[in-house]
Assembly symmetry: C2
Homo-oligomer: 162 residues x 2
Amino acid sequence: VSDEDLYVRTAIAAWKTTIARIDKMFARFTDDELQTEVAPQRNRVIYILGHLTAFHDRMFPLLGLGERLYPELDEVFISSPDRKHSEHSDPPSGAALRSAWNEVNITLQERFDSLSASEWLERHTQISIEDFDKDPLRNRLAVLINRTNHASYHAGQVRLIW
Amino acid sequence: VSDEDLYVRTAIAAWKTTIARIDKMFARFTDDELQTEVAPQRNRVIYILGHLTAFHDRMFPLLGLGERLYPELDEVFISSPDRKHSEHSDPPSGAALRSAWNEVNITLQERFDSLSASEWLERHTQISIEDFDKDPLRNRLAVLINRTNHASYHAGQVRLIW
């Protein structure tokens, strides 16, 4: 294993550990219990499940790794706060969200494994060539590490209601 | 800048961003408000401040970067849950904790900057040579990324009471 591979594998290992912990966390809740708020008047667990799924699904185009699997999640779980989405959108069930969450993460992992180490240092698709020249840290690896932290941030919230 | 440096700098940038966000978060609370629980019967903000300070202070010996600055924080903020520490230990004030938090993170950053890229791939001090041979991902970089996620996890909790 080259040193270059080790840097990237270390970051991917942190992603995997975080996803595995969150998988276990969501598994503790029945579909009914997913309706519980993490704190009074704060997001329900099901909202966080949908929000993380939508956020991770956005990583496909952001990292240049293909099309999204569930773009329809954004309206309910990113554009709108919990319980404030348009009446025209029909929020998915807990079971449907669990399935989407798993599929998104499994597919992402396959795509991650297809990248070489140096490809992780390439720019992500939301930054221009000019801006990337000025700040080469806005690369795919940064997206991976930041999304891992975003997931941990919400995991800390769900942990409050065990 | 070499590719090796870029991997490491990307991970350090995520650490810095996370610490800066948490700095701003704690700055929103008066010393009195630090006594607020993040959710009913959960940790107070001051406990999370002390807990993160102690956890980060432990990174000095864990990364082989020198002696701890505040080992006395462990009894109240790591070994004990919030408000359950021994009567013999005197918890520090909010002002003292804010100062310790800043000093620990500033000093850590200086030590981080003293390491070469390949030194981040060396084993941390809590893993044996034999175990590290089997799993080279248990390196300094893994500690950095995992501690960034640990900080994000608790940041998500404090965020609930703005």
